[in-house]
């Protein structure tokens, strides 16, 4: 186990990468790191309100820019008080270039996990070089393009799942009726999906998700159109469906199967749920899942044929789905991704400094909160560590940070520990 780090996770205001960001937080904590989260979505309301002012466009642009600068300043203030070893950000995290430059000057390491298609979301060109580490979900030619722009620390980091959340579940009969179907699809309405799914309307086929344009042919299949499906409901849909179709999006209607490179999060989430999936061929899919774990189709006839084949073979479906979950547990959980990212950062930018190494989680030389306490108190602190999901070897500083993050009123023990911390700070200042 590598040494424990202090990581500030700067979430984006909204979008798919926000969900990924939250899974990163969980995974990093699971790995024993102290994670502080910058909850950018809490600022989203104010940002949206700006857009509703019916004001001059130039003025609006200037105000939006000022607002983002303020949000960036708040991140800097958080950095000042939390003193992270690393700032992790996901695509669209509110870190301005000025802020990133300031962080680099202050020697605060930054890492971006860019979980977007670089062709569709091209803004990385202006920002990539300002991060110390740039993790991406695509390979060539993206790697070379990034290097050309001066970003040398590029890591291929495919998406993942959270096996504790994306898990097989027993559904009630009601839920099975509500969410189940022979064939299901969950996702946004892209042109290639519109075109492909028109061919499935004769089946027991349900479509879930938002951003679907009105389409009379698909209307009978649409479930709660324009409603965003929560992650909890998504897991139920995955578990309730015999075949989960997973057709990667494309902004073009043709070809229906775009043959792109990156693998979407749904692939990992379905696998993690041990839900059977039929997924379109992707250039990077083969190294993540084998044909024994997920069923792959190359074109429309192949998709239709596979549906017919697997619908009547529940055992085959179950066997593949179980293998897929085993693969996720072994290789494709967010903890694997976060571990890979931190290992890369340690190796490339010396993240964690002298503390990094195959030691236990408690940073070497730092006092443990249990040191020197009488047994009764020690037991209470142990209980607190357990409640905070912290190991006994956590440093005193990290325990204090975790206590400060607690919501509501403090207990007498928590207050006592913070009081002790205040003494330590005052003593340090006096020296």
């Amino acid at each position: 186990m590598k040494s424990s780090l202090r990581i500030l996770n700067v979430l984006p205001m909204s979008g798919g990468s926000l969900t990924v960001g939250r899974y990163c937080t969980t995974a990093l904590r699971e790995l024993g790191h102290t994670v502080e989260v910058f909850e950018a979505p809490e600022f989203c309301g104010a940002f949206r309100a700006l857009k509703g002012q019916r004001i001059n466009m130039e003025r609006l642009a200037a105000l939006e820019n000022s607002f983002l600068q303020i949000v960036s300043q708040i991140v800097l203030a958080k950095v000042e008080s939390f003193a992270p070893d690393l700032i992790l950000a996901q695509a669209q995290a509110p870190l301005s270039r000025q802020t990133l430059q300031r962080l680099r000057r202050d020697k605060v390491a930054t890492a971006m996990w860019f979980v977007e298609d670089f062709r569709v979301f091209p803004y990385w060109k202006a920002f990539a070089r300002h991060y110390d580490v740039f993790a991406v979900i695509q390979k060539a030619p993206f790697f070379d393009l990034l290097r050309e722009l001066g970003q040398e620390n590029v890591l291929y980091l495919p998406l993942a799942a959270d096996p504790a959340f994306h898990a097989p579940m027993e559904l009630s009969n009601v839920d099975r009726r509500r969410y189940g179907a022979d064939v299901s699809f969950l996702g946004a309405g892209y042109p290639n999906r519109h075109a492909a799914f028109r061919r499935l309307t004769s089946l027991d086929f349900r479509i879930w998700g938002n951003d679907w344009q009105a389409d009379p042919v698909l209307t009978p299949c649409m479930q709660r159109p324009d409603e965003r499906i929560s992650p909890d409901e998504a897991v139920k849909i995955f578990n309730a469906s015999k075949i989960n179709l997973n057709l990667h999006s494309s902004i073009k209607a043709e070809p229906l199967i775009s043959g792109g490179d990156f693998v979407n999060p749904r692939t990992f989430e379905l696998a993690s749920c041990a839900a059977f999936q039929l997924v379109d061929r992707r250039a990077l899919l083969g190294e993540l899942f084998s044909g024994r774990e997920v069923a792959v189709f190359e074109d429309m006839p192949g998709m239709l044929e596979a549906i017919q084949h697997y619908l009547v073979r529940p055992e085959e479906r179950r066997a593949m789905a179980q293998l897929a979950r085993a693969r996720v547990l072994a290789e494709h959980a967010y903890v694997h991704r976060m571990r890979a990212l931190l290992d890369f950062a340690r190796q490339r930018i010396g993240l964690g400094g002298a503390d990094a190494g195959p030691a236990d989680r408690g940073p070497a030389g730092r006092p443990s909160p249990l040191d020197g306490l009488p047994e009764d108190l020690r037991q209470d602190v142990r209980e607190l560590l357990k409640a905070l999901n912290l190991p006994e070897s956590v440093s005193f500083e990290d325990l204090i940070w975790a206590v400060r993050q607690r919501r509501g009123t403090l207990s007498d023990l928590e207050t006592s520990l913070l009081f002790l911390d205040e003494w330590r700070k005052q003593y340090a200042r006096a020296r």
Partner: protein, 412 residues
């Protein structure tokens, strides 16, 4: 029962300057008042506030061993959590105070608050914080600042008795916490000698063990005939001894000290000397009938934490013949108004009005008196909720005392 907790973790003088608040709470119906102070000040607090439950926490002094600190504090915190305080008055902008606020729901806490790990200032401390950035126009005595944590506040007249000479000589407080704020021995000895000429009683030198060398120097610096009248009590008084001595004096000569506040608490007349970073409008003796000599150079009040680049020039006027003449005047030292004030020094006399302590110049002038008065009027209207007497005067102060956040955001 209405149970209140006051958290006052500062020093000796601050314990006494919380009196308007603490006594105000005690005066409420069916009130039970708890007071948290540094552990070294528990017995003092018990003397000042009979009937108040005093809790000691280790905040100043030697760093305690972690396990002893945890074992000592935890039962107190547990007791507080179980006490169902109606309100908690958290008086200091310090890390300890913010943490203690975390024991309670934010709505319970007045003053310095804690919400989910974020330290916050309430509306009144926030406003006064702005004021402390312009100290030269600050008219707000600390007793009144803390007093207005409670609404309505205790009547200012009910806080300390008016100053009356008690007949047993002069006391001399030897030093405050910062040496630059106190008169050095050669200056103090001249002032004490002048005051002793005006009375036949003894002179008591008061201070801690640390002030004993200064006490010996002061005694030796006096003319031999006066030396025999000196009783050196430095380092020899417990809190109750100190209160007994102070309570019998005709006059206390003092810089800005806790002893000064204790004398004012007892209604013993004070003549105080404020210079350097000491600003009598903030921490002058509370109650009617005290005198303060306040240095009034353009740089006053300065910052304790910054070195003086003027060679403490604000000290010079204190040896002016007018000061010495006033100390030696008839009646008792310093009771008269000298006609010829030295430059950059002002003698002020204390009174209390409906808002709080007010210092009236007796001779000399201090800069920015009009601005200070305008701020005081604004604060008076703010705290008492009354119609302005002169809104045009207040307007200038309102422009910087009231900021956008107060106008636009909900105030806690």
């Amino acid at each position: 029962m209405n149970t209140y907790l006051v958290i006052q973790l500062a020093r000796f003088g601050d314990i006494i300057q919380s009196k308007r608040l603490v006594r105000g709470l005690q005066a409420r119906p069916r009130a039970v008042v708890h007071l948290a102070v540094d552990v070294s000040l528990v017995s003092l607090a018990e003397l000042i506030y009979p009937g108040v439950h005093v809790h000691g926490l280790p905040v100043h002094g030697q760093r305690p061993e972690p396990e002893r600190l945890l074992q000592g504090c935890r039962p107190v915190f547990r007791q507080w959590r179980e006490a169902s305080f109606e309100r908690v008055f958290n008086l200091n902008h310090s890390g300890f105070n913010y943490i203690l606020a975390g024991l309670f729901a934010p709505e319970q806490v007045f003053g310095y608050q804690w919400r989910h790990g974020q330290a916050l200032r309430g509306a009144w401390p926030d406003m006064v914080f702005r004021l402390t950035r312009r100290r030269s126009v600050n008219p707000l005595n600390l007793m009144d600042y803390w007093g207005y944590f409670l609404q309505p506040a205790l009547e200012p007249q009910a806080v300390n008795p008016a100053a009356v000479a008690k007949g047993n000589g002069i006391g001399v407080a030897l030093a405050g916490r910062d040496a630059r704020r106190s008169l050095p021995v050669p200056v103090l000895s001249q002032i004490l000698a002048a005051a002793l000429h005006a009375t036949a009683g003894p002179a008591y030198l008061l201070g801690t063990e640390a002030e004993r060398p200064a006490a010996r120097q002061l005694q030796r610096a006096l003319p031999p005939a006066l030396q025999t009248r000196v009783r050196d009590l430095s380092g020899r008084t417990k809190w109750n001894d100190l209160m007994e001595v102070l309570g019998q004096l005709d006059l206390l000569l003092t810089p800005d000290t806790g002893i000064m506040h204790l004398a004012a608490h007892l209604g013993t007349p004070v003549t105080a000397f404020f210079l350097s970073s000491a600003w009598c409008f903030e921490t002058g003796p509370y109650g009617a009938g005290h005198l303060v000599w306040q240095a009034g150079r353009a740089c006053a009040p300065c910052l304790e934490s910054q070195p003086c680049d003027q060679d403490t020039a604000c000290l010079l006027p204190f040896t002016h013949k007018t000061v010495l003449a006033a100390m030696a005047g008839p009646g008792l030292a310093g009771r008269t108004s000298p006609p010829d004030p030295p430059a950059e020094l002002c003698l002020l006399k204390s009174r209390v009005d409906d808002f709080g302590l007010k210092l009236h110049p007796q001779c000399g002038e201090l800069p920015k008196s009009k601005e200070r008065e305008a701020v005081r009027e604004l604060l008076r209207g703010h705290c008492l909720g009354i119609t302005p007497r002169d809104v045009a005067t207040e307007n200038g102060a309102a422009a910087w005392m009231y900021d956008e956040t107060q106008w636009m955001l909900e105030q806690s």
